[in-house]
Symmetry: C2
Subunit: 430 residues, 2 copies
């Protein structure tokens, strides 16, 4: 049933129209990097760009660079670029703060809008297996505002969309198993039930097609979204995050002068007037708070630019096709070559339900197996309690990388090297 | 009355025991930089450090660098260093997010602690001329929680400390006029009145002595503090900020498992357990939220290190003495050489009331005068509506810089070049 060989993978790489994009990255020799879903690889341009920001713009331009180097407009400029990757329009998305902080803003605003519409809905509905920080933030908001946070299994969500639900909060691609929600269908169902939908795109943006504006269909459009800059957007460790709101909501906020709770000065309509009272900027700019970390933000722009470089080659659709081919290959190779070795596939076999990663559970040794792989230069990651994650970044992952990764996995399982004591100790970050 | 000459200033530089610290910075030729209170200068080590973080740690270490390069501990490590500059202990202060975001956390916690102590105090008291973002954040919290935000003149604060005040929120050094509060006296008065005190150290940390722990005297100690990384700490544009809580408050929070509202995963007791429920980390670590921007944070560490390099030379006390000598000189030179030209000193003449800047109002032409100075390479800044600010960074500002700055100021005023049309147009950031 499985006849693929390494030679066949080499041919796939040779015929891959996106193969040249790998040259946009610096990748260390001897490493197969399958953790771009946790920290994207270094864009080749980022080192020079960061050097310029530090040495020229900061060192020589000093404070003048806020104007002369355009620092002040960077959150919007990079935001407009990210917008192109997630089906949003220019001026609708801005880079700011961390994902968790942005989630705090939009969840509160979604609840405010619900309440202002005269609704007594008092529940945030979410998925039990959502990324923990999303649950933690929602938990705090629910406590502070006296609303209920209900966590249910993913497949129970449609049935739970009743008249108590104010906000449905979901992550588009699940961080553990890589399962993807049908965003348009869920938005439609939620809107039909009178709820707003907040999406976390951390494991989607840059790897999976997202259509926040529902191609103009408001029923299928999302209401709010946040996402991470350092995964598939390749923005570097702790790169700032992004936040989006549907234009109909920012229009309402404009009309009513609504603020988001973290009403810092850079979300003010005229921050450099230093007025004593807060007056929110129009549009998405009101979701900014303090000063963005410019050095990290400049690196993020380089990361986003690597994705825009794929636009002439088919953009996100082409990246998605390659990503699915890569994950399909991974699953097929494990099926064929690692059978009976305790790996249990967590990621859906159905392509439309799959993000850009493949996850396996291994009851006995998930952590140690991943450590053994990393020692061999095959870098994925472990997620407690028993998950091995292999992320696929179609910009720089090759078909031969998948072959080699699975071959290393097979060897680690077969020769039992993962049982070596040195692989058993958990590091600070796993 | 004023006999100082440029030659006398040269002698002051020659005899300045701190003069060598200027070598820790890259400063452009032909520039007199008096805006370190808005963006600190580039530390010489920062360029190489940032290059290492980007090219080696991110590029080659990739995800492994969270452990191998110590990224995961950086917020605490840099926090411990900042603590030494503000009279706090190791483990009490952490780098996180932006100043405004941190203020949101601590104000909410201060109100929570007040309420949990059974108090019905329902007011945040602050100074009318506080930095606007502090007012904006407090305004949002006051609305959301139904407490009153009262803004009074600085000198009215003691009389306003009645039994309605839950939290007194102040900035230690005012951003406009550079006036400094007596932190110990205010803490004592607020505590005697039953209120908690939240301090913003943005214009203090690194330039003005701060004793958050009140040298062990709880009455005189602060309760919470936040501050900025990119001013006197030289952390680079938009460097992350810091947050501190008095150990007695974190002890209470530990005992009662209290959270701050932005309960993101990196403030969790065990973030990499990915547990479904939030359990705050003990101590100050609970004030973290999302992932810190590591590249910007690494630059901040270099900035903080420039201040620690002054420790063998007398540390903050020695820097403070030089700062006062510099601002004293600035004021004396303007008195003597720019008299009758419309400049009105805003900064207190009394040294104990003065931060590390000198501000003047000029009714007609503050913005244009500053633009004319900047065109001459003397960089201070303008604050609406009519303030010229000259910040003094004792690590790298020389006595001759002060002489030359005032000489340029005198010329700009005397020859009327500030009336040139090209200096009249306001830039995005002023």
């Amino acid at each position: 049933m499985m006849t693929t060989t390494r030679e066949a993978c080499e041919r796939l790489d040779l015929n891959d129209p996106l193969a040249g994009l790998r040259e946009l990255f610096v990748l260390p020799a001897g490493v197969i990097y399958l953790d771009g879903n946790s920290l994207g690889a270094l864009p080749r341009d980022a080192a020079a760009r960061v050097r310029r920001v530090v040495e020229d713009e900061w060192g020589h331009g000093l404070i003048r660079s806020w104007n002369t180097a355009g620092w002040i407009g960077l959150p919007q400029r990079v935001g407009d670029k990210i917008a192109r990757l997630v089906g949003a329009g220019a001026g609708e998305l801005v880079v700011a703060d961390a994902t968790s902080v942005n989630l705090f803003k939009v969840l509160n605003v979604a609840l405010d809008l619900t309440r202002m519409a005269g609704s007594e809905r008092n529940m945030i509905l979410t998925e039990r297996n959502n990324f923990p920080t999303d649950l933690y933030i929602a938990e705090s908001i629910a406590r502070a505002r006296g609303v209920e946070l209900r966590r249910v299994n993913a497949d129970a969500i449609p049935a739970q969309l009743d008249r108590r639900v104010a906000v449905l909060m979901l992550t588009h691609v699940n961080y553990r198993d890589g399962r993807t929600h049908d965003m348009a269908a869920i938005n439609r169902a939620a809107h039909a039930a009178g709820a707003l939908v907040v999406w976390d795109l951390s494991h989607s943006a840059g790897a999976v097609p997202v259509d926040l504006n529902g191609s103009g269909n408001e029923d299928e459009a999302a209401d709010f979204a946040v996402g991470c800059g350092y995964k598939y957007l390749n923005g570097g460790p702790g790169a700032p995050a992004f936040v989006w709101a549907h234009p109909r909501h920012t229009a309402t906020m404009d009309a009513l002068h609504l603020r988001q709770p973290l009403s810092g000065w850079l979300g003010h309509a005229a921050p450099f007037d230093f007025a004593p009272d807060y007056r929110p900027a129009n549009g998405i700019a009101r979701f900014m708070c303090g000063t963005a970390p410019i050095v990290s933000l400049a690196a993020l722009e380089c990361g986003v630019d690597t994705l825009l470089a794929a636009e002439p080659l088919g953009g996100i659709a082409a990246l998605r096709a390659k990503s699915l081919a890569l994950t399909e290959l991974f699953i097929a190779l494990v099926d064929a070559r690692c059978d009976g070795r305790g790996l249990v596939l967590q990621t859906p076999r159905e392509q439309r339900l799959r993000g850009s990663q493949v996850s396996y559970a291994h009851a006995e040794g998930a952590y140690a197996i991943m450590q053994a792989l990393i020692a061999r230069g095959v870098i994925g990651d472990f997620r407690a309690p028993d998950i091995l994650r292999f992320g696929v970044a179609p910009l720089y992952t090759r078909f031969t990388d998948i072959w080699d990764a699975v071959e290393n996995l097979r060897q680690v399982l077969d020769n039992g090297e993962w049982r070596d004591a040195r692989f058993g100790r958990r590091a600070a970050v796993t």
